[in-house]
Every structure is written in C-alpha cells, then in structure tokens.
Symmetry: C2
C-alpha cells in the first residue's frame, strides 16, 4: 500500500458530486457516505479546488459542486491533484560517483520510472467521473431488477 487513500476519497467525492449535480453537497454529506470526517473531506476537496476540479460556496446552504462536466474529469486528474512528486522514489541520496554503476544509475532509473508512471497515468486518464456515475447507475438498476 504505497499511495495514500486520498485519491480514492477524492474520486468517491467527485462521483457523488456528479451523481447529484443538480444541487451542491456539503462536506458532512460526503463524509457520511465515506464514513469519515467533514474536515478530512474539506481538506481533500480543497486540493481539488486548487486543481480547478470543484468549486465551493461558503455560508449557509453552501457546499461543493463540480467545476466542469464530469465527462471531462479523469481519475488521473484527481490523482494528480493530490499526489505530488514522482510515484517511484529514486535513491534516498546520490550514489557514489566512484562506482561505474553508481554514477549512471540515477539517470537510467529516472527514465524507467518516469515511463512506468506515465503508463499508469495514461490508464487512469482513460476513465472519467462520468463513466463511474454511469456504472453506479447501471449497478443500481441491476440491483432493483434483481429484487423482483
């Protein structure tokens, strides 16, 4: 378990905002669904706001809503808004330049790791929040049908 659950929480929240995009949701409502804490939710949504994915309004009847259509927000957008820096960490400190391998390793690894990250980012970028809402609605439809 390397990457924190912040991205999962963010995607969950974004999906809720997209599912009920006729109104705005409060951090308390989202926290209820997550079985978590309003402050935690506001922290994460705050990062999403900085990234331009959501907007918030203060005061009574305030809350959160999407800043743009759910079809234009990918899972990678959420990930990138929360996780900074490279996914795969290189050496904790520069290796020895006296060693034939040491003086080349950092540079070579950087290329490999960057490509690996890009592969993951590309995959996350293929799914949008709108896709998830569609899947949620489809699941609920199936569930209702099976109840007969």
């Amino acid at each position: 378990m390397a990457v924190s659950s912040k991205s999962a929480v963010a995607i969950h929240a974004l999906t809720m905002l997209a599912r009920w995009d006729d109104k705005s949701l409060t951090s308390a409502e989202i926290a209820d669904s997550l079985r978590s804490n309003p402050v935690l939710v506001r922290r994460i949504l705050g990062s999403l706001r900085v990234a331009g994915l959501v907007v918030s309004t203060e005061g009574r009847n305030g809350g959160w809503s999407l800043a743009r259509p759910a079809g234009g927000i990918t899972l990678h957008d959420a990930y990138a808004a929360l996780e900074e820096g490279p996914l795969l960490a290189s050496h904790p400190h520069p290796p020895s330049a006296e060693c034939e391998v040491g003086r080349n390793m950092e540079r070579l690894l950087e290329v490999e790791f960057r490509d690996a990250e890009r592969a993951m980012a590309e995959r996350l970028g293929r799914t949008t929040i709108a896709d998830l809402v569609r899947q949620v609605l489809a699941s609920e439809r199936d569930l209702a049908q099976r109840a007969h």
Copy 2:
C-alpha cells in the same frame, strides 16, 4: 513520492551484481556504491533472496550473486519482491452502504486501480537488469571516448 526507495536500491544492487557477475559482492561493497549502510543492503537483498533473485553465502569470502541470468530479471521482479499489497490504496474503511455511490465505489475503484497498476507493472517488466548493464557500459564507453 509514494513508493519507497527500496526498489531503486534493489535495482542498483542487482545491476552491480550483474555487472561483476564473475565474482560475488559483499553488502559493504554495494553499500559503498549506494553511500549507504551494509545492514540496509542486506535487508533489501534478503527480500530479493526470498523472491529467488539472488543467492548469498555466509562466512569469509561470502557475499551475494544473481540467482539467474540478468536477462531474466526485470525491474518489475525487483519491485514485486519489495513492495507488497496494492499500489493505489482504496478507502481506509468501507463506505456507507446506505449511499447509492458508497455501496458501489469500492468495487468499481478496485477494477480501475488494478488496471492502472497492471499498466505500470507491464512497463517495468519490459526492462531487464541486463538492459541496464548494457546502458551502463555504453555510457562508460561514451565517457571514455569523450575524454580524448
């Protein structure tokens, strides 16, 4: 920076073992190149041994060597030997089943995250330790040539 630098250290060590595979290397020699500590190196190489990537011999003149040809060891092998569990963490605890989104999110996210991880793993699996040794040797050759 989400994934620890253990994988980077492991790949560095494996590349050294492959570069000088006529002899065995000690944890102290590898630690020198990493500017790190022999105990740390033994810890990480210990995991690689469990994964069947390297072998060690105790006692005087002991040390470490590859358990199989460097062309058959990929960067993903090293990564998998050290990092356990999913890369992308899902919810810290199960969301509310009362929420239409909550009761579907975990299952949907698991698919997305697993696919993203697989994309990264696939990329890491394309490069072998032998590839890195070749690149190190090529760099050194260029460097020597440029010295004229």
